[in-house]
Symmetry: C2
Subunit: 297 residues, 2 copies
């Protein structure tokens, strides 16, 4: 078993990807208090919000106040999703540390999600990335629908490789390969990574799994075996479908941490503090988190 203990980076995306589709608005003050708690857990990276236009994502309409309001802990990078120059200006004004740009590998998903083709999006992203780098920020790139598209089904690996290459050409530090609809399976993860690792070092790739079909952890294990050391996850498995309360969202940070700890991987994160921050969120939000760690009886 090729699971040599090593450092693993967790990118906590709960405050952004976790909350963005939730029907229950989490008050700005609670978002800030929660992110401040997350900052004390040992996490080194928190995607705090999204500067997408508030009309698109009402749940994160308070991005400016959140990003400006959180206490900055040295050693923690606070990132935000940014769709374009306008969003970048807001993010810079709120003193973001890292700018996360995003696009889809599927043409239909791109059109339906942001009303732009992939090529049009690449132009916008290049402009945004250039400006972010000029402002002294690092940039992260997200590719969504890497493993499947809700409209097209299969997504060609060539399309994924194309947009990944474009993102790296723009100067992004890391590309996160997203299983947007939670359809990836381990053999597919192996196929995508086989090609990616011929082109890029493992350190520049992250994987972003949703647990819709229960395979997020198995996919993570496979990626770990192939040398990947960076994973996106959301505390408590936030990010489920708003129409099905029990449905799984992102891979849960607390569940991921449990596995990584048991595998002897170093994350620097304290499970007890992480759990406390999950209980805090449950209390302030009045909702139960669905991760396994939060159900243990």
């Amino acid at each position: 078993m090729k699971l040599t203990p090593r450092k693993v980076q967790i990118r906590e995306v709960g405050p952004r990807d976790g909350l963005q589709n939730e029907a229950t608005f989490l008050a700005t003050e609670h978002k800030i208090a929660w992110i401040n708690q997350l900052s004390q857990t040992g996490l080194s990276y928190i995607e705090a919000t999204s500067f997408v236009h508030p009309a698109w994502i009402p749940a994160l309409a308070d991005a400016d106040q959140v990003m400006s309001g959180i206490d900055r802990v040295p050693g923690v990078a606070y990132a935000a999703l940014v769709p374009n120059i306008r969003g970048l200006q807001r993010a810079l004004a709120a003193n973001v540390d890292e700018v996360a740009i995003f696009l889809s590998a599927s043409e239909s998903h791109s059109q339906k999600n942001i009303n732009k083709s992939i090529e049009e999006t690449l132009e916008v992203l290049e402009e945004t990335a250039t400006a972010a780098l000029a402002a002294g920020k690092t940039v992260r790139g997200y590719v969504s629908t890497v493993f499947g598209c809700p409209y097209e089904g299969e997504v060609k690996l060539d399309a994924v490789l194309h947009v990944t290459e474009k993102l790296f050409e723009m100067g992004v530090r890391e590309v996160s390969l997203g299983d947007t609809i939670g359809i990836a399976h381990p053999r597919q993860v192996a196929e995508v990574l086989d090609e990616m690792l011929k082109r890029y070092p493992a350190e520049r790739l992250a994987l972003h799994f949703h647990d819709t079909r229960g395979l997020a952890m198995a996919n993570t294990l496979l990626a770990l075996e192939m040398g990947i050391s960076t994973f996106d996850s959301a505390l408590g498995g936030l990010g489920g479908c708003p129409y099905a309360p029990g449905a799984s969202g992102n891979l849960a940070t607390d569940d991921l941490l449990f596995m990584l700890d048991r595998l002897g991987m170093e994350t620097g994160i304290d499970q007890e503090k992480l759990r406390a921050s999950a209980r805090f969120l449950e209390e302030k939000w009045g909702r139960k988190l669905m991760s396994h760690q939060m159900q243990i009886c």
Copy 2:
């Protein structure tokens, strides 16, 4: 990635392990109707009930009626858990196909669970296995708490190897290694299997995971990579803790099947029919099943 497509055997344990701790009694006629539906899905093995004394497991107090009442489909083996000669007599009277005997690898768990030491249990099991074989039945052996004990914590691999060897000496066809409290992690699975596979062919070993901490599927993937082809699971993830409705039980058959299908493994099971049998159970039982497949929105 060493996941060569091959035949994988699923042992459906929902009617026994799934139901045994559930607080809501499923009426006998519904149990029978449900097992009859399961028999039509392509499953080749169903553990239908338990002939443990009804006072111990009230949820399965109707074992005789269930085992006698189900329609036998050719090609499907109907098994039952049997603790001793008395249970075996009941199981034989109800025309069981395969007798499943069980013991714990942990002394404290053995004492608390069945009020007998491991050595005392081995005597009872040997008598039971011998009688079952003499009656022309095949026998399956379960080892519980292989990966951890609720009372002792760590369980020594030597203890697991000892009881496994004893079971094979009794003439069992297959030993199922059980993660009773859902604490196993992939590296531990690799360590246990490394030793097991030095002693026994993969075909004689099954793995039985509970998803308490969200690692059942990752553990399954690791076991598949190491050549294991037999897994116990319960439809819909039945078998959660009765005190925490959201808590995970057994690895869910429907989720497992989704992964196996995507990996190109052959199971002979029809996902749609399986799902229909899960919906049937939800309706008759008045409870929602917690597998990922049953939450997809």
